[in-house]
Amino acid sequence: MTSRPPSQSWFVPLGLALSLLLLGQQPARAQLVSEYQVKAAYMYNFAKFAEWPASAFTGTADPIRLCVLNDPPFYSQLVLIVKDKTIAGRAVLAVPVQNGLQARGCHMLFIDSSQTGEAVHLLESLQGSTVLTVGETESFVDQGGIIGFVMQSGQVHFQVNHKIATQSGIRLSSRLLIVAKRVIE
């Protein structure tokens, strides 16, 4: 014998469906503070405090390209952040890329944690380029990445490999280095 559920319990799925309908129509205008949004905002900030060699740009009007490797959700966040932004007279552009080859034209490249496996290989292939690599694993800066996000008590912080940055010809401002949780010299 099964105990029949009381009919009122159908309010639960009904309520779910109803709120979905209502919420589904809401335009996505404002911002929730997700980890990705904070990281995207950091990306823009890093660009403000980094200086690339002249060879990294084709001309004075060439934009600063902030690239995202195979991560559409992060890319869409970054697009919102850099919209209508300029740094030192250059436009800032969010660019989605699929592989290391495409990343060579980037000024900054974000590699998410799901691609950690490929990261080492990618970082090797980017050696000698002027790409400021940004990762989100703890060991990223030890593996040859330049800036690595770390999570601490629900806050996003970052570490910097200053040595690799200098080797790549990228000058990082002291302000950035002061805020960094760890700097590899």
């Binding site: 319990s9 309010f11 799925p13 709120s19 929730l32 503070v33 959700p73 601490q152 629900g154």
Partner: protein
């Protein structure tokens, strides 16, 4: 009852309205993207973020239905045990027989099953023991809940990766790392029924060397008096068991990391008084109790080699012991008592190797192997008055396994995940378990998944060899098997609202079930065939004014093919609600969690009523910089509700705790 249910339904409505208003308000809200992009580096570092949303997004890539619970949620919701957390998870339900907590998933929980169909892992280390295969989720879970960094729950059969026991879900508990504690933490809690808790933890992260040590104790006198109507007679104290519900636990944890090596040691021991006259013991006698202890050391090595080879190697050894004291009247002199001592001693070691590499740019291939040597699987039972040896069973066995998995990106929007595992057992037939998942992402906000998987569970030594009357042994037991098909739809409705829906069909074969025999004894047999179908729906929302919420509903219909009837121990409807609101944009959080469970038919044929309970918690963080204070009220409305019994207990149903309170303070000092 009907009245209460309608109250609950209305409450759900009201909460949804709040949900909608909160999110809607936010849509019109002030804080915009540009605010965040104007934030300075320092400001960005001080923002509290919700990493859960990211998990939700990345779970779109996962080849299964996944739930992740973070330390943040655990702290804000004021959860006390792993069971507290799991009962809030979509399609999960927990029942408690006042000794062990049992977990049901998707309408499936066998009475007397010690959570053997759930795989419990701590940092990837298997926790199910080698005697009963038990996944311990109540106070008996050997890790302090404050030391959990996150919990990853994968629903559905995952034997293709983990082997035996992963029939309905794999639950991986990830422990905090040294940098999550980073300094000294002292925590203490006081709760109803004379319950006290204390913890001390210290963690340091140096450049290449990190360590974390933590120890805790928990002691509860339990309910002073418990009433069991089944024992309402003069000779059994009118059904009242006094001072027989005590619970005490000690845990210790240490992790040391050096470069890519991590050594982790965990130990937990719990003693529980049993007030339910389990196994026909003398009602109300405080001597009837069990002690479970589990400890392990696990050394793992993780490294990414040149050419993007990811390597994970692990070696471990485990010890599990159980002792039960059961008080019976003495057969020689009924005025005297005859304690029965029931014990189990398990010891095992093992090693695991896993290699992952991306090949041809599109295939992420994992190949691995595992070996586990059960060097001791002993069970013993004896009576003390007069001394009588009833069982002394010593066993050994080993298992070796190979597994292979390929995550292939077929195109930009299509991914195929194939897995396969072969397990060789020295004691029973080997098992081969495949798994396939097709993930289609037509748009960046939508993921559709079709999953097929098989999983198995080998009979444990308790089911095969425990032969103390009225139990009869059955060494001929074979592994049981599940085949499962599932469809998942994950949709991001807006920047702050996600929907996930799934439908599943499970078929179980050769289910190991305890059966009565004509001579009055009980035996485990591979007889039952069962199937269950169901749907799940979950909505998750966040807003920039510090609101987070998850609401889920699941319907499941379990059918026992053998007896052509509905499955026992299986509620048809489950609904859950979890809400957290940050107050005044500060370090104050108010949270609420509520669970509804429809009625359950017990294996005895009786039934429990549907119920809804509500728990609330208020948390103040970083008070005077170092202090976190929280107050929780559990079962806020004092709802009287009952859980179905396990096979150990001859009761129709077991009443659960009414309203209880907990006050907790945590003092943390260190480089935060």
């Amino acid at each position: 009852m009907k009245f209460l249910c309608s109250v609950f339904a209305r409450a759900v409505f009201v909460v949804f309205l709040i949900f909608i208003v909160a999110v809607r308000d936010d849509c019109m809200g002030q804080q915009s993207t540009s605010d965040l992009s104007e934030a300075s580096l320092e400001e960005l570092g001080s923002i509290q973020v919700y990493s859960a949303s990211k998990h939700m997004q990345s779970s779109g890539e996962a080849p299964s239905s996944v739930t992740v619970i973070s330390a943040e949620e655990i702290q804000k919701q004021g959860y006390r045990t792993l069971a507290d957390i799991l009962r809030t998870v979509r399609s999960f339900y927990v029942t408690y027989d006042r000794n062990y907590s049992s977990l049901g998933v998707r309408g499936f929980a066998r009475p007397g099953d010690f959570n053997t169909r759930i795989l419990l892992l701590v940092d990837g280390h298997r926790l199910n023991d080698n005697i009963y295969d038990e996944a311990m989720i109540g106070t008996e879970f050997p890790v302090d809940i404050d030391m959990i960094q996150r919990i990853e729950i994968v629903r559905g059969p995952v034997s293709s990766l983990y082997g035996s026991n992963a029939l309905f879900a794999a639950i991986n508990i990830i422990i905090k790392r040294a940098e999550d504690v980073n300094g000294l933490e002292l925590s203490s809690a006081v709760a109803s029924f004379n319950t006290y808790k204390g913890r001390i933890s210290y963690g340091r992260a140096l450049k290449r060397f990190k360590f974390l040590v933590s120890g805790s104790f928990y002691g509860s006198r339990g309910q002073r008096q418990l009433f069991f109507p089944e024992f309402n007679a003069q000779e059994t104290n009118n059904g009242i068991a006094s001072h027989a519900d005590d619970d005490q636990l000690g845990t210790a944890l240490a992790t040391i990391s050096f470069h890519d090596f991590t050594l982790e040691a965990v130990y937990g021991t719990r003693e529980k008084g049993i007030p339910t006259a389990a196994y026909e013991t003398v009602f109300g006698n405080r001597g009837t109790r069990t002690t479970d202890s589990h400890g392990y050391a696990d050394l793992r090595y993780e490294h990414t080699f040149r050419g993007s080879w990811d390597v994970l190697a692990r070696a471990f050894c485990d010890r599990y012991t159980y002792q039960g004291t059961y008080i019976y009247p003495s057969p020689v002199n009924p005025a005297q008592l005859d304690p029965n001592i029931d014990s189990a001693d398990g010891k095992w070691w093992g090693t695991e190797l896993q290699l992952t590499k991306t090949v041809l740019n599109k295939n992420r291939v994992t190949i691995g192997g595992e070996y586990r040597d059960n060097i001791r699987q002993n069970q013993g039972t004896h009576d003390l008055n007069p001394y009588l040896l009833l069982l002394n069973d010593e066993r050994q066995s080993f298992v070796g396994a190979l597994f292979l998995q390929d995550e292939a990106k077929l195109s930009k929007s299509l991914a195929l995940n194939l897995g396969f595992r072969y397990d060789y057992y020295s004691s029973v037939d080997s098992s081969t378990d495949p798994r396939a998942a097709l993930i289609y992402r037509p748009w960046s906000k939508t993921a559709l998944k079709a999953i097929y998987g098989e999983a198995f569970r080998v009979p444990n030594v308790y089911e095969k060899y425990y032969s103390v009357p009225p139990n009869a042994p059955n060494p001929a037991l074979k592994p049981e098997k599940i085949r499962s098909t599932e469809f998942v739809w994950e949709q991001s409705l807006s920047d702050r609202l996600w929907l996930s829906a799934s439908a599943f069909h499970n078929t179980m074969y050769d289910l190991i079930t305890q059966q009565p025999l004509d001579d009055g004894s009980y035996i485990f047999r591979n007889i039952q065939k069962a199937k269950s179908d169901g749907i799940e729906l979950e909505v998750k929302g966040q807003s920039s004014n510090g609101f987070e919420g998850i609401a889920s509903y699941s319907f499941q219909d379990g059918h026992d093919r053998e007896s052509d009837s509905s499955l026992s121990n299986s509620p048809q409807h489950l609904a859950k609600l979890n809400l957290i609101q940050q107050v005044f944009r500060g370090n104050l959080f108010a949270s609420l969690d509520a669970q509804y469970r429809s009625g359950i038919t017990t294996f005895m044929g009786s039934s429990t009523s549907p119920f809804a309970i509500v728990n609330v918690d208020l948390l103040g963080r970083k008070i005077g910089r170092h202090l976190d204070l929280s107050a929780g009220v559990y079962n806020l409305f004092g709802k009287k509700y009952y859980d179905p019994p396990s096979t150990a207990v001859s009761l129709d149903s077991i009443q659960q705790d009414g309203r209880t309170l907990q006050l907790k303070m945590t003092w943390a000092v260190g480089a935060r």
